[in-house]
Symmetry: C2
Subunit: 791 residues, 2 copies
């Protein structure tokens, strides 16, 4: 009850402030509001200046919020009204053309990556196998380690020196972008190129990482670049592309790109769409579902055409392999009601392992952050040591395994094999024997997955080999992800999970008739769900991978159980990474304690809002822009209305003007000699809506003479007259729902009092203000009430 | 430009009204605002009183809007704050338990329906076949017609007399419900029972309708009944169920129910979830995706268990058939790049046919509406004549077909068959011959689909038979849907589409190697997409139906093309029905011209808003409730604040109070002798939040004595203090986005002026105010500007 009383006090104080005070004369003295991302937003106590973001890792860079709101100022309205039917058709046509191009290019680049990886890794492995055949084991080791070292070096140098944002999977940043957080340099041309080459290098180097995450990022990069007409410095200023120069259309394009990426990674069109829907996107609508589906359809057609082409040995070492595809469609999967028990066991243990993996990876990434912060050299050294360790294990561990005799009853497979692929690798064994660990380790990751998933191979892998494999990939999965190369999380988790599934199949062998290969598939699914916490999209991806619909019910069950178990312990791996990167992601659900605090209280904890007049002095605008970091300012007209007869005058909230637009006005020196409203034609003469769409420009670049400082600017034509608003008595929980649902950057707080002298705007809310962490650091008593509820 | 000027005039007038007038003394004289659904909402001209809903069909009944907003009044807050951790766990547990039960019961009822239909229709057909074998053709005809007549009679009488809402598919109403429109008696126990029995009757009667739509409705009914603890009159007042006594949780449950229904209809768990997501639901979130997926998983397990059980002939005539399942997984589908051309042709023609079907069905339904309005007898007669016509055609038309010799090269199928099912029906033919039209017509609809989809039967059906079949089902598909029995649209469209696909396969035969059975599948898909305009969910449903992932790329292509072509002509069939039923569905996208009008202008066209004081006289409350039909009233405190020193006083917008809560206060006679604020304990003594959750009660049922009329009520504790608001300068387009995204029933309009004497609320927006049709009828000049843009 103690906190409640405090809250009530706060409310009472707030009420006094609003009702009694708030005269216009105070306006000018107020501190500038600070809503830049680097600074604390909520200052209950003005001397308090803890930086919540400083703690959460080194990867914080200057992020900006995106603005999905339709800016309705006079210029845009004019532009919109004059837009002809032809232009609308141009827009629609271009939207679909871009969706097509995104699919096409993503498909082509995925093809390229697959080709390169299969050939580089293939020739590398062939050479190693040749050395082994000649019993020159040390030479083989040296060759493999060196090759992997060099490939990792290429990937790491590119990432470290040219595009640090290309490291990692990129999915968390895309998720954040679609939530409204713009990480800089995330979707540039350099990032794209580094990601492609880096991904080829890292995957070919045999590191325990996949190309799936990077492909999602690549798809999004392509989408973003297409939308803006090319790289930043060489943009095609095609007239039609102006329609896409806004955050809303770019968001849709990037959603298309990310689903194309997933589709290209798994050859799973429906899975790709659902992945974007379930995991990546924050806003969704039916029309987008349709467009992303079109993109993924294009990707599938491209991939299919390319695989047809490669069937006739045109693609070097590339078989049907490069695209993971564990085709078990030919097999009639049989299971009965009693098999539900092992399935439940798989799910529960998978959920536990998945959340444990998340927990450990979190710790490892924190340590890595400290190392990576020390400089580029440290980053490089870390990547290279992981590469050497990986090579060592991959090559060395198979020597521990005993040679197994080939089972002559399996007539349809070759045993042992000495080539690049194959399910029974000879390695160091005599003729007629195979090394089961070499089958899993001395191969590409994709082939390893295919081998461990293969059906009717109940006795192929010895339990000791599986334990070594599982243990190794647990370690590699933890230490590889954080290094400075493009890395996906899907494959490491699939590898770990499949090993776990196989192990379980041996343990549960006597009780069930499920095939061990199927166990491996289910194990992989359970670990994915336990770590990534997706359900429907994973289910469909596995469905499309395995190409067997009869697996659907048990896959669903495993996924549901694993996710439920995992959710009991920690959030999904992507959420953990988002938090580590300090990206201000807005969750779908407000915290329960947010219902105990109103936006009015939030606003009173912040410095007062800086307002501009409808016709403002140039000097004041320059001062405000230089002294604050806000991106939006309410525009208020204060006028004496004679008809009213009121001595206090009337204030009118005209809207919200953006910093970018103010800078544009200053740059164009669109000043007035006297305090007057401008005509529509005057505005149109000076500005076009295309100018306004540009977001670039800083106040430091603007030079205004002292004489000009005394002139005026009419802000009315560039003010968004329809900002979204909340009442100051609104609870933060409900305000957050509106903020997120409508996709805002700024939300104005209106006073609930109506009287002369009350400021027409009680405050501004931004993304940072609505983040739980920031609110709690300004209102520690909420934290207490939250804890109390926990007990 | 003419309209623009008018708009500007309107704006200027509005500005004057807001700035200059609006004194408190006018308040009492204003007309009551009318936001009931039956009345026009926007009266530009007060004498204008056209009723937009009167035109659009007889099925309009008293619909209510749902309220998905979290009502934050003191009582609910108190309840929420005192909610312990155990109660939160109860809620979560119950949520999942209900999802499980919804799946379980939907699965069981779907099983029951399938069993009943297969057995009733099966024995009926067996008897008919026996008469035919004995060459007693007339007797066979009489038997079949009578049986169908009686079955239709049962279905129609139940629908007409007991539950008119059970007629039709129910999907549009569910779609409207999830959009926030409550059609009365839609989810009651009577409706459920009538829907189950009626669906069995109508489908067994061989009418051209499916059980798919009704199953979706049945799933939703089950969900709704479970959520409220049973039928209206016999509700279990289980303490735990109080958590679900709100529109938000009921909405989630019904979403679960509808996806379970689709899943049960097609045995397609992922398709079910996606159907709910793409077509039915308006609001969606990741957590819901997961829960619906769980429900559909349960359905699939139930259906699977039941099919296992029926394999051993325990279920009478029920084979694996009852659940449509065109299993083509065993067949390796081959197609190459050139096959894209026929696929495109299928898509284009399918889209054209689909939109043509929508167009014609619209006309037919309008005519049917007129007939059905004339009374119950007319409804019955209509249904029965359709039944007789259907029987006549089904039995008579096969006599037109020539007997075909059995192809001895097809060894694995029996030819001719005389039993209930089978691909080569003997009918009136001699031994060794079969009647291809009888194969398609003299069978259940499900079997007909299976027969026409069957692979490797290129020459089975003669073109003339296919044309007759197609023509017949086009007619039946148009005339059957609107009759007063539970009817689904999926199956008629699949039948039509498959016939069209087969016909096309014969026409295109020389140019392609695609199997005619596959053509039938693609034809069905194209017509579905052309009429229903879904893509991803249809694709997944077809995927799960055909059980062959290799079909995915071409299915996608067909669906995308057909939908695109169809969208050029008219909206989807569900949207057409929604409009016919006059349900105030809020579209996702605002119309472009809505950016030209502000909510302030809308508000000024409506009668002024009726406000209540924070502490209000009983007499005034009774008067307001009796004289208006509003469901929400802004609560405003007008107080002189001495500290302000302002002569005009201060008004404070306290929030919004609901009609239901006011009636509760009057019923409980919670009156005060003097004008004072009440304490928290006083409130809690009188009300519980459970009382407040009830929505029942009418003002006519309340009796208040004359003495009581002079007493006071403190409205503060029951007022929602956090209503969502918009500024009066907000454009209708953006206001609509907020209204829909946040799921509102009322949205307050705030003045943009801040001055003494300005009313703190400029108006209230409801669902009806934001509907394009209503706005256009009040502001005809917008219609003109819309047309002008079209030219």
């Amino acid at each position: 009850m103690g906190d409640l009383t405090k809250l009530e006090e706060a409310e009472a104080a707030d009420m006094e402030r609003q009702g009694g005070g708030g005269g216009g004369e105070e306006e000018e003295e107020r501190d500038p509001e600070s809503n830049m991302l680097h600074q604390p937003l909520l200052k209950r106590n003005r001397t308090l200046s803890s930086n919540p973001l400083a703690m959460v890792g080194a990867k914080v860079s200057h992020t900006e919020s995106l603005d999905y709101e339709i800016n309705e100022n006079e210029l845009f309205k004019q532009d919109w009204r004059s837009r002809s039917k032809v232009e609308v058709l141009q827009y629609i046509f271009l939207k679909w053309l871009l969706a097509f191009l995104v699919g096409l290019l993503t498909g082509l680049i995925a093809t390229l990556i697959n080709l390169a990886v299969e050939n580089i890794a293939g020739y590398k492995l062939l050479a190693v196998v040749k050395y082994i055949e000649q019993k020159r084991y040390l030479m083989g080791f040296a060759y493999m380690t060196l090759a992997n070292f060099l490939l990792t070096l290429v990937a790491a140098v590119l990432c470290v020196c040219f595009a640090p944002t290309a490291a990692g999977p990129g999915i968390p940043e895309i998720k954040a972008y679609l939530n409204g957080v713009d990480t800089p340099n995330m979707f540039g041309a350099t990032t794209l190129i580094v990601k492609i080459i880096g991904s080829i290098g890292a995957v070919s180097a045999g590191l325990d990482l996949g190309k799936e995450g990077p492909l999602v990022h690549i798809g999004s990069c392509i989408a973003s670049l297409l939308g803006q007409g090319g790289p930043d410095n060489y943009r095609i200023r095609w007239h039609w592309l102006r329609y896409f120069n806004n955050d809303r259309d770019r968001r849709d394009l990037i959603t298309c790109g990310s689903s194309s990426g997933v589709c290209a990674a798994f050859r799973s069109p429906v899975g790709g769409v659902l992945f974007a829907l379930e995991e990546v996107a924050t806003w969704w609508r039916s029309a987008l579902l349709w467009r992303t589906f079109f993109s993924t359809a294009v990707v599938v057609v491209v991939l299919r055409a390319f695989m047809e082409y490669c069937k006739s040995e045109n693609c070097g070492l590339f078989g049907s392999g490069g695209l993971i595809m564990f085709d078990v469609s030919g097999v009639s999967v049989r299971y009965n009601v009693m098999d539900i028990i092992p399935v439940v066991v798989i799910g529960v243990i998978g959920g536990l392992l998945g959340s444990l993996y998340n927990h450990l990876l979190h710790k490892v990434l924190k340590v890595y952050n400290v190392i990576n912060e020390k400089g580029k050299l440290h980053k490089l050294l870390l990547s290279l040591s992981v590469s050497i360790f990986t090579s060592l294990c991959m090559y060395g561990l198979p020597f521990l395994a005993k040679c197994q005799p080939c089972d002559s009853s399996i007539t349809d497979t070759i045993c042992p094999t000495t080539g690049r692929a194959g399910n029974f690798k000879q390695f160091n064994c005599p003729k007629g024997y195979y090394n089961d660990l070499a089958t899993l380790l001395l191969t590409t990751n994709d082939d390893a997955v295919r081998n461990i998933f293969s059906l009717n191979t109940a006795k192929e892998f010895h339990i000791s080999s599986l334990i070594i494999f599982f243990g190794l990939y647990c370690i590699l999965g933890l230490i590889t992800f954080g290094i400075a190369v493009p890395s996906g999380l899907f494959l490491p988790i699939i590898l770990m999970g499949s090993a776990y599934g196989r192990m379980l199949s041996i343990a549960m062998g006597p009780y069930t008739k499920i095939d061990p290969g199927l166990y491996a598939v289910l194990g992989a699914a359970s670990l994915m769900a336990g770590s990534m916490r997706m359900t429907v999209s994973l289910c469909v991806i596995f469905l499309e991978l395995t190409n067997n619909l009869l697996l659907l019910p048990i896959t669903m069950l495993v996924l549901l159980i694993a996710k439920t178990v995992g959710d009991c312990f920690n959030p999904s791996i992507y959420e953990i990474i988002l938090e580590l990167k300090g990206l201000p992601f807005l969750d779908a659900h407000p915290e329960p304690w947010m219902r105990n605090i109103t936006v009015g209280e939030l606003a009173s904890a912040k410095p007062a809002v800086v307002m501009l007049s409808g016709i403002e002095k140039v000097g004041r605008i320059v001062e405000v822009l230089k002294n604050t970091t806000h991106n939006g300012f309410p525009v208020v007209d204060t006028e004496m209305v004679p008809a009213m007869g009121s001595p206090n005058g009337v204030t009118e909230l005209h809207g919200l003007v953006l910093r970018a637009h103010l800078i544009l006005v200053l740059k164009k020196k669109w000043f007035l000699q006297v305090r007057r409203r401008t005509e529509e034609w005057e505005v149109r003469e000076k500005f076009t809506s295309i100018d306004l769409a540009e977001r670039e420009g800083k106040i430091e670049e603007v030079t205004v003479t002292d004489d000009e400082m005394e002139l005026y600017v009419d802000l009315h034509p560039i003010t968004n007259t329809t900002p979204y608003t909340v009442l100051e008595s609104m609870s933060v929980a409900k305000a957050m729902v509106q903020f997120r649902q409508v996709g805002l950057r700024h939300m104005l707080i209106l006073p609930k009092y109506q009287a002369a002298g009350v400021s027409p705007v009680a405050g501004i809310l931004t993304r940072q203000d609505l983040r739980a962490h920031n609110i709690l650091s300004a209102f520690p008593q909420l934290e207490k009430s939250k804890r109390k509820k926990g007990h």
